[in-house]
Symmetry: C2
Subunit: 157 residues, 2 copies
């Protein structure tokens, strides 16, 4: 299922449309947009891209939601929210999970290079809870917003 690997090189791992999901042109577009996106996107953002790409074709936002739900159910997409926003964002799972720092002013997401829990043992909570995953979110201000952090609304005080 992986691309052929040329010795000594580190090819971008190519991502194919999942074989266990029925292919439709709408889903293929959603897949294309999300799997090549460099950051999590909201359904509305994906829809906007879709409209541009598919000019002439009709497209419903509900199709986007339904498609994303299918991808999520099968584990190809992760859906989450971040501090300071009210809408869900969707991210194509590239093998390992990711964490972000989210700017409280402009809501930009800065990916963390590694997961601080990769080798930690917070997964022990006694018998009371079986941990299957975690979500970590740093927040603060990105370089551009720092300094003007006190102007206007920041989503948090």
């Amino acid at each position: 299922m992986k691309h052929e690997i040329t010795a000594g090189e580190k090819p971008a791992e190519e991502i194919y449309f999942p074989k266990d999901i029925k292919k439709t042109k709408q889903r293929v577009e959603i897949f294309r947009i999300l799997s090549t996106a460099s950051r999590p996107m909201s359904a509305a953002e994906i829809y906007q891209c879709l409209i541009k790409t598919m000019e002439g074709t009709n497209f419903a936002i509900s199709t986007v939601y339904r498609g994303l739900a299918v991808f999520e159910e099968k584990g190809y997409v992760t859906k989450s929210t971040w501090m300071g926003t009210e809408t869900y964002c969707y991210e194509w799972n590239q093998g390992r999970h990711r964490h972000y720092a989210v700017c409280l002013k402009c809501h930009k997401l800065v990916p963390l290079e590694s997961c601080p829990f990769e080798h930690a043992k917070i997964h022990k909570l006694g018998d009371d809870f079986t941990v299957t995953g975690h979500k970590l979110e740093l927040y603060g201000f990105c370089r551009e917003c720092k300094g003007k952090a006190l102007d206007g609304k920041c989503g948090i005080k």
Copy 2:
């Protein structure tokens, strides 16, 4: 502002209505409910408590939202969402921040005893981002829901 401390004892730290917020009977009730709650509550849950306590008085859910917004603005309340729910929950800030494990089935929140980052140094992100805080969320299944985890919808796969 703190309660008198009797030697050798560990008194429950008493919480008073913030002096920098205008007192109204509605806000006092919201304060009372939230500051004595053992877990984050949604606006609707707070509203339900309010209705019970204040039988006879009229009460609007919008007042709850507005009150919570005031408390949050001044830093007395933290508002967040957890995986698998769509509504915000509000928590009275008792000095230090808290993290939770959230059950993907029943949505129960189990508080973590300590913050794994208390002494860690993930707060360094180079010059690109100034971290002011973080949010950690473990997810999985609580004791009661484990075992029946595969029945019905779990909010995640």
